[in-house]
Each structure stands twice: as C-alpha cells, then as structure tokens.
C-alpha cells in the first residue's frame, strides 16, 4: 500500500518555510509527518498531509512548486531493534533507501517510518511477505 507524499520546493530565503506552513494551516491542511532536506542553495520539504490533493492545490494557488511521490509507511515495533529488523529485510532484497523519516503513529507500541526506496513495489512485497505491517492512507 503506497501513500502519497508531497515534496515542496523551499527557496533559500528567510521566512519561506513559515509562509508555506502558514498557507497550509490557513486552509485546514493537517501535516502528519515531515522532513526537510537542505542543499546549500535551497530546501525540499517532504510531508504527508491528511489530504494530499488539497495540500497540493493550496500550494499551487500560492505559487509554490510541489510534486507527489509514492512512498511506503511502515509500522515498526517501538523498541530497540525494531527499525533494524525492517531495514534488514529491505537490504537483503537488494533495495536501496533514498531517504526516510519518522511519523506520528496512532497505534500503541508501534512507530511509523516513511520510506522511499529505489524499488518501491519490491520493497512493499518483501516487507509484506515478512509480516511487516504497512500503513493504509486512511490510517494516517
């Protein structure tokens, strides 16, 4: 099960991130998870919104560039070794991870990780086969 992630271009300019987040909040978009990657010249804000299409629309109206990407949200045990177990499955299958970040989970005893792999369908397959739970969009 893939979920939609929004990547947003953030110009390297004071107050730019604030303006983007304000715009989303004014329009009632709730951000469930986010991560910021920075280069020397600009930033990329990656986020999972409660309503991806709406978030994309709000940003487009504000002249902000964004793209949607399919990612996997993986439930992991909230204990030592939880993440290691998941990564081993992925690595053993020859899959590389491009980036990942943590999520606000709603399940007791579980943490959620957003994961972008170079081969998403394969990642989904091997994780499911190994009994790792993936989040559905409606669970977020």
């Amino acid at each position: 099960m893939f979920i939609k992630q929004l990547s947003v271009f953030v110009e390297n300019k004071h107050g730019r991130l604030q303006a983007i987040i304000d715009k989303l909040s004014e329009n009632g978009v709730n951000i469930r998870a986010l991560s910021i990657a920075d280069t020397t010249d600009f930033g990329i804000l990656r986020m999972i919104a409660d309503d991806n299409e709406k978030a994309k629309g709000v940003l487009a109206d504000a002249g902000v560039i964004s793209t949607s990407t399919d990612v996997i949200a993986v439930y992991i045990d909230d204990k030592t070794g939880g993440l290691a177990q998941v990564l081993k499955i992925v690595t053993d299958a020859g899959i590389s991870i491009e980036y990942m970040y943590a999520f606000l989970g709603r399940k007791e005893g579980k943490a959620l990780m957003v994961l972008k792999a170079d081969n998403e369908p394969l990642a989904e397959k091997v994780l499911s086969e190994n009994g790792i739970a993936l989040a559905n969009p409606d669970e977020l």
Binding site: S7, F9, E11, N12, K13, R16, A37, T39, D41, F42, I44, G63, V64, I65, S66, T67
Partner: protein
C-alpha cells in the same frame, strides 16, 4: 614636468582644432573609398567626403556601433589590405562572438606613444621597471602597456595576469616600480602583500589601473596597501586599447589623446551633440588610425568632458570617469557581461530550465560577487534532488565557459523575479561606485 610629445600634448586649443580638421578630412576621404559600410551610410545621408570640411561638420557624419563589428566580422571594416595589418586584438562580444580589430605599423607606433604619454605623466622614465600584470594576449591591455613601457625605454616585465604569489615575488626580485593591472587585482595584490608582510620590500611608486570601474575609496586603499600613487586609464579595443585617455600627475580627469581621437558627448536617445560640460554618451572618432578606423563610434559609456586647462599644462580635454553605460552591459571583475549571454545559456541548457533569471552583483571586500537567480519550474523540481543539482551545476559550468567568470547559481520561486510592465528586471547592481 616631463611631457612625452609636447608638440601634441601642449598644443594650443585653436591649433588642436585645425589639426583635427585636417586629419578628419583625410580619414573621411580614405574611408569613403575603402570601407563599404561607411560609404553606404554616407550615401544614405546624401553626404560626400567633400561636404566635411572640418571638426564643425563632425556632427553630420553617421554613427558607428558595436553591432557593426559583429556584422562585418572578422575583417569587413578594415581600411587597409591585410598585408599592411601587423597585429590583431580581440575582445568578447555579447553572444560569445568576439570582435576583432587590426593595427598597421603606424597604428602600433601611435598606440605606444599614447601609453608612453601616460607613463611619462605619472613620473616614469628609462630607469623604471614596468610590471605588466594585464593579460598579454588578444586582450589589448597587456600589449598596450608593454609597448608603452618599451617606447619610453623602461624595462618591461611582461608577467601577464594571474599567479599572485609569483607576481609579488617578481615585484620584489625584479624591482618593479610601475604596476599595470586592473584595480580589483591591485586590491587583491595589496591584501596578499599585507598577509606576506613584504610591503617594505617593494619599490612600487606608481600604478596604472583600468579596464573596469573603480572608486576613490579604492584608490585610497590601493595607494595605502601598495605604497604607490594610483592612476586611472581608459581605453577600448574598438578605438585602440588602453591609453585613449589617461590621468596625469594631478589625478583630475583623463586627458584624451585628441591628436588621434575626437571625443563628443551626445544624447544617447536623440543622437544630438550636447553642450560643453553636459553628461551623456561618449563618442569617439579615430582620425589617425589606418587599419581599423571608426567614425563617431558609440562607446555606450556615460561621462562628461572638461575643456578647462589642466594644472599640468596639457591642453587635451579631460573626461571624467564613466558614470555608467547606456546599454545593459555589466563589468564584473573586469569581464564584460551582457544579460543576453545569460539568457542564451539558460535557453540552451535545455530541458526544464526556464530563461527567467536575475543577475545580482555586489561588492564584498572590494571584490565583485556575481549571482544568477534562476526560477524553479515544476518540471525541474520533479527531477528530484539529484536532477536539480546536476542541472544547476551544468548551468554554472556553461555560464563560466561563456562569460569567463562563474556566478553562483541560485534557484528561486517561480514568478518571484520582479516584473515591471511585463518585463523582468534582469540586473540588480548593488555595488556603490562613486
């Protein structure tokens, strides 16, 4: 006071006018025969060479433009057979296409004399060591200074540009007394000399700095750091190269070598000659040059002329430092940059780059900073981090190879580049030059 060619430099003004009139008639007559474009423009105005009896008729003559040099590239505007051309020089044009100019033996003699006048005016003679830190090559700066130094019998040190440590060591070892380079490079040399703590080992007494705009503050700093007196020189390849005009010992405006070049100040919009003392576009007519002569060449530089007699005794008119340009050309670290060059690179980089850009020039620690803002596009952003970085790197490299200097490329929000009346403001020059 030493003067290299008193017969010209101290000539009374009425006589200058007579001399110029005679030379102008000669030039118009020969160019009408040998330069097709000039003849065509004269014919269009219904003018014959005999209609030009002297300097008073100069304003009737057609203008010439930088574009002419590109249209007739490479040798279409030369006025003598190539067998009489002894040397060529070139400078970069707006679209990467260079322009080329040529000199006969007499032209090279005249140029050397013009530069020699300046060397003598700033107190140099045959006992001096002239350190030529301008690039020696197709650029006119290096050879102009070199030939001038040789002409006065000084010892020329043709070290050319670059390799700062070696420049300074050479200055110390060879005993350089007169330094010729760009003012920003002089500033840089001064800083490195300070770091090395070798100022007291230098014998510099005068510096001849040109090819880019500089301020009185820079002059004071250069003089302090290098322990010399700093003088301004003006020139452009189309007219000759460095030495078209130069400062004398009084540093109060640049004397134009009026026995070779007639300057005019015009309204850049109407082309009308402006009253004495007005600020406007500087126009030159070369009245002695044989190989590559130009009539009423539009320099695009904005300045004014001062006909008052100078304290040094020279009668040649003084032009003040150009205050700007009528076109959008920028001079960044001594390099000519046209916004259209940047647009062309962006258009050719392909794929997902839009040609929406803005140039930001500033000056930090007396060195020009150069940034190009490019608008991010949906499609470029969709390429992901690696794709974007690859593209910005490509833009940066292409700009460097086209312009000769590399800007910092910065991606900005789409439509964030200021547009007024639908036209984007392409250049923000924050350098404060007085």
């Amino acid at each position: 006071m030493a003067v290299w060619q008193p017969e010209y430099e101290l000539m009374p003004r009425e006589q200058i006018r007579e001399d110029q009139s005679k030379k102008l008639r000669w030039q118009v007559e020969r160019m009408y025969k040998t330069v097709e474009l000039f003849r065509k423009r004269m014919d269009e105005k219904g003018l014959k060479p005999e209609d030009i009896s002297g300097v008073d008729d100069l304003c009737k003559l057609p203008f010439s433009y930088k574009q002419d040099l590109r249209d007739y590239y490479p040798y279409g505007l030369f006025a003598v057979p190539m067998s009489e051309i002894r040397r060529v020089h070139a400078s970069s044009g707006t679209t990467g296409k260079q322009i080329v100019v040529g000199y006969t033996d007499n032209d090279l003699e005249m140029w050397a004399d013009c530069f020699a006048r300046m060397l003598i005016a700033v107190g140099a003679d045959e006992n001096d060591f002239v350190h030529v830190g301008y690039g020696l090559g197709l650029f006119t700066g290096g050879f102009g200074a070199h030939d001038g130094a040789v002409r006065i019998g000084a010892t020329a040190i043709p070290i050319s540009a670059g390799n700062t440590q070696r420049q300074i060591q050479t200055m110390i070892d060879f005993g350089s007394t007169v330094l010729c380079c760009t003012p920003s490079y002089a500033m840089y040399l001064g800083e490195v000399i300070e770091e090395m703590g070798v100022k007291d080992q230098l014998k510099l007494k005068a510096g001849i700095f040109g090819a880019e705009p500089w301020t009185e503050e820079m002059r004071a700093q250069i003089e302090e750091k290098l322990g010399l007196k700093a003088y301004d020189i003006y020139g452009l390849s189309e007219i000759m190269g460095p030495g078209v005009s130069y400062e004398c010992e009084y540093q109060c405006g640049m004397h134009v070598c009026e026995d070779n070049f007639i300057p005019e100040i015009i309204d850049p919009d109407t082309g009308e000659v402006l009253p004495e003392g007005s600020q406007g576009e500087l126009v030159f007519t070369t009245i002695t040059k044989e190989g590559f002569p130009l009539i009423r060449y539009r320099t695009r530089d904005i300045c004014s002329l001062n006909y008052e007699q100078c304290k040094c005794g020279r009668t040649h008119v003084r032009m003040n430092k150009p205050q700007g340009r009528t076109d959008d050309m920028l001079i960044i670290r001594g390099v000519n940059v046209f916004p259209s060059q940047i647009e062309e690179v962006l258009l050719n980089v392909g794929g997902n780059v839009t040609p929406n850009y803005q140039i930001i020039v500033d000056r930090e620690n007396n060195t020009d900073t150069f940034q190009v803002n490019v608008e991010m596009s949906e499609a470029l952003f969709a390429e992901g981090m690696k794709g974007i970085e690859k593209t910005t790197k490509l833009i940066s490299e292409k700009l460097r190879s086209t312009l000769g200097i590399g800007p910092k490329v910065n991606l900005v929000n789409p439509k964030s580049i200021e547009r007024s009346e639908g036209k984007a403001k392409r250049v923000i020059d924050k350098r404060k030059l007085k």
